[in-house]
Symmetry: D2
């Protein structure tokens, strides 16, 4: 941490900061600059709270230097974490694709979609049984019945299944049926849920919050890892910006930025970012090109009858063509 003093701050001010730091057990070293003194906090283990110094007399600014994360950091573990679920391998340089409908609607629907996406090359099936919806009057998902359908899809097709868990209460149940549990964007900082996920034996897909900084996202993963679960897959799904031509703004720069900071795999969900089919295909291709560790794409056999997000679901034949391109792009880009 670097504490930048105001121009003209007195020696007394500087000593005040040094003492405050020492009181907390840190080593503080004043560094004379051109215009002002800065004070470095040295040899600290882990990050220091800026708030401790921000209000002190003579302090102009406090600049964090040490990153607050430990377990998720690539500096701590330089090798990629690899998460394996059936034939899907995340983090080994391959490009596994997870596909399926937004919501589980019926066994018939799910089986039809699962067969189609499997044939096209998807290695995992997705579908929501518990749906976080902005309105209490919207369809909230089929619940346990939906989970049973997912299990049936796995039995029939051999595809592992991923589904969202919304709270600690239902975690045991979701974990029992699903191969991978997903924590949604609205729950990225639901710390109770993160801690429970940290105790799970299942890999966790952690979606980025709607306006989460990279550091906050990684710290959410840190909550999971800190409880013992090392199988965390980060998923970029678009962030909220001023933009109105897409539902969210897919932030592909976060892929190289995150992979620089962490050893965890990073996948991309173009469907929720786009909100409309026409944009899903080009954004999926862009995701494959940017060097992520997998994609999650919504597919529906009859999108116009979908109970939710039909407009962003691909038709099976669109998905099939898309998969071919994704695989070819991945061949080109996989070596970085």
């Amino acid at each position: 941490m670097l504490i930048v003093m105001k121009k003209g701050a007195s020696d007394e001010n500087v000593q005040g900061v040094v003492k405050a730091a020492e009181k907390r057990g840190y080593t503080a070293r004043p560094i004379p600059g051109g215009d002002r003194v800065s004070i470095g906090i040295l040899y600290n283990k882990g990050s220091v709270d800026a708030g401790l110094f921000l209000g002190l007399e003579g302090v102009n600014e406090v600049i964090p230097v040490t990153k607050p994360y430990k377990l998720v950091s690539r500096e701590v573990k330089s090798q990629n974490t690899v998460v394996m679920v059936g034939d899907a391998v995340f983090g080994d340089g391959s490009m596994p694709v997870i596909a399926g409908p937004c919501a589980v609607e019926s066994e018939k629907q799910c089986l039809a979609i699962a067969e189609a996406v499997k044939k096209a090359g998807a290695v995992m099936f997705r579908g929501g049984a518990f749906k976080p919806r902005t309105s209490p009057y919207s369809f909230q998902g089929m619940g346990e019945e939906g989970l049973k359908i997912l299990a049936r899809v796995r039995d029939v097709t051999g595809l592992p299944v991923a589904t969202e868990v919304m709270d600690k209460e239902n975690f045991d149940m979701v974990e029992e049926y699903a191969d991978v549990v997903q924590i949604g964007t609205r729950n990225m900082q639901n710390f109770t849920l993160l801690k429970r996920a940290g105790k799970s034996k299942r890999p966790v897909i952690l979606k980025r919050g709607m306006s989460a900084l990279l550091q906050e996202w990684l710290m959410a993963a840190e909550y999971i890892m800190e409880e013992g679960n090392e199988q965390v897959i980060l998923c970029e799904r678009g962030v909220r910006t001023f933009v109105r031509h897409s539902r969210n703004t897919l932030d592909l720069s976060v892929v190289p930025a995150a992979k620089k900071e962490t050893h965890l795999p990073v996948i991309v969900d173009p469907s929720h970012a786009a909100g409309i089919r026409d944009q899903v295909i080009p954004l999926a291709l862009a995701g494959a090109a940017v060097g992520c560790d997998g994609l999650m794409i919504e597919v529906h056999n009859i999108p116009e009858e979908a109970v939710s997000d039909g407009a962003q679901s691909l038709y099976p034949d669109q998905f099939e063509k898309l998969m071919q391109k994704i695989n070819r792009i991945h061949e080109i880009c996989k070596d970085g």
Copy 2:
């Protein structure tokens, strides 16, 4: 809902949309425009899902008209909802101020602060016993012990107490000790928590999510009201923007905008928006002037020793001077 067709969309396309609407039980009426046809969905009760039409052939854009909220809407209930807790009344045109430290640290600390803020005119005490923290390594709050301290503050000072609840698991416990439960910004769309709050006898302070649209915030309140709890207080606490000179951007325009849409009281928390003491005072005054229904302000007796957010906590004497100004401004602005 208005469905805008592409220029040159065929009659067949228009009929396709009309049929899709009728299939869902809506009445659809084509409206010829200068350049293109639009189709109005009429006589619908409640809002219609845009996704149903967005992907259909010939559709250019789908524009929602009906608002999705029912119980929170001022159109449904034109009179202000008034929430009374002890001497604190929210929504009757008065300006109740909630004050206290970010986190409960000790009984001594809380009593000292509570006495000071009560003397200055605060009508409710706040303090966190469960703290949602970005890092798992930061202080997570005193838990039940903290709640007991809050209860003790109430006994000694007579001030009702407000505190945050982070999950359904601890809701019973928090509810037992606190007079008002608070749902934090990171949990604004934790729907399991919202539903539980809807079953509570306690009033709920619902903080706006970090990047929540007004409509999403109101729909979160709708979740609470839909379960039966009508005592919801909305709290603006700053939103995330590109800005770097304050922690968040306090969005005061949301106060008149929200009060136009809903009958629920709207209060303002300048402390979390600012993140630094120098900005808290002017933003608190601005909040009082903008016509909100109350303020929530962090005060600490020894901010430099606070375990969290010391830099944004006011000194008791600053708070006292601020209260006098707040009251005088409120006198001027209260009649709208």
Copy 3:
């Protein structure tokens, strides 16, 4: 500037950075930290370009410490700059209000509005003769004829007039008629225009860009001051965010933040931020409370017939009542 090395960066990497700094004439001092080495760039005059170091081997992050501004900085000149134009004084602790229509439409219109706002206490008249419009098909302003009307308003009412200048070509002309020239939000980084404004004898109102950081806004003012014009008034008018309930998000926290960094006066324009009359009044009151150095408010005698921005223009009687409240709030807040 602080250059933070990667964990495990070699001594050679550190020496590489030190040499690169010395090559540019800076003094570089390595500072050993807990986990990594940082390198301080010391005794530099003015700011250092981060790009010089960002790409070097072993460098993790580059953190600017010295602020890049000179003339606008309060560290350089601690006393408030005071700009006086007729009875309007900006920066001396008073609350001058500039009022008038969005666009100059006719002499009759302008005189009617000017008389009304003067009576209510406004000390400067505003009105656009050159209008920056998103569409080339929208009304672009009356041009020189509009400027003549403004001059006539001044002659009749004694109010000084402020109006926007959009380019260097028309600067001479605008300067001849107007008492204060305004640079609009879309031109905040039109450096050619800023340099010309720096050669003007007229005070300049510099509106904040739609998504300008505080530092960028101050650097735009620096362009003007660097050419010799010290009479710069900063004007916050709302920034672009994800929010949809107001046209822009009025960022009142920038007022205390800017006044901490600079000696220049800072005024607030609630009309363009709000975009709708209902929000203008509470935001104007909030602006007065936050401690700014003046307000700019749109008023129209017949808003429903205005050629532009009628929806955000106050009626004269609304403005009159508002002025009374503004003055009373200012009395309360003026001593900080």
Copy 4:
């Protein structure tokens, strides 16, 4: 345009709106809804100003339906506009790459870079002679001398050259030397400059403003086309968001969204979005995959000695490898 009335708005209110519309020459038709009346403005040519109706009694909301653009619209001209400059063709389904340094520094530098990028497959050279810089103390470019160097690069290598023009004053000069003129992000709504560009014989690269909505960007292009210049190339270069891990957020969803609305070619500049070399390469690949009409990439022979933006400039050998991948990805994605 759809005008949504408040619930319970009176017949008189509805008639007031109808009359206001008719007074402006529009046809207004009331549409009864479930909860409220809406009023459609029909048969209007071009867009209608929302402000005309927003403030009227009983009006709740005004929703634009007709898009305001004419010449740029794909509805007006369905075929792609193709811009040809030497061997570079934008808009015909090919993937031309423009490359070069941020700033022109010397003839030697430019020739070295130009030879390298040409060899790698670039079809146009870029380099700034006039540099818009946040600080007046930063290098402002070589001016006309820089333009002469660009002309020399064209003579020697045969590559056409693109360079930025910052104001009307220097337009004649820039136009004389350059094959393509570029309007930068800070000038996207410098309407005087846009109008001048509209009179140019040169193709114009129009960068998207830092926080420009798609519609605003297209309207800026409309300004150019309206003056007679049909050769406009749109360039996405990242927008400003809350994100801190990249300089700007590259918004790739704008590519399919823009191409749906307009017939103009859309290219992508990953260098300015990223701000750092490590991100430029993956974002360039993503840009190629998303289906844009070209890329603009910064390359420098000795980035560590660049006068500006060295950290984001690729080394020539990085660029060469990148070009191979770009071409292969384009082969895969070009058929949509």
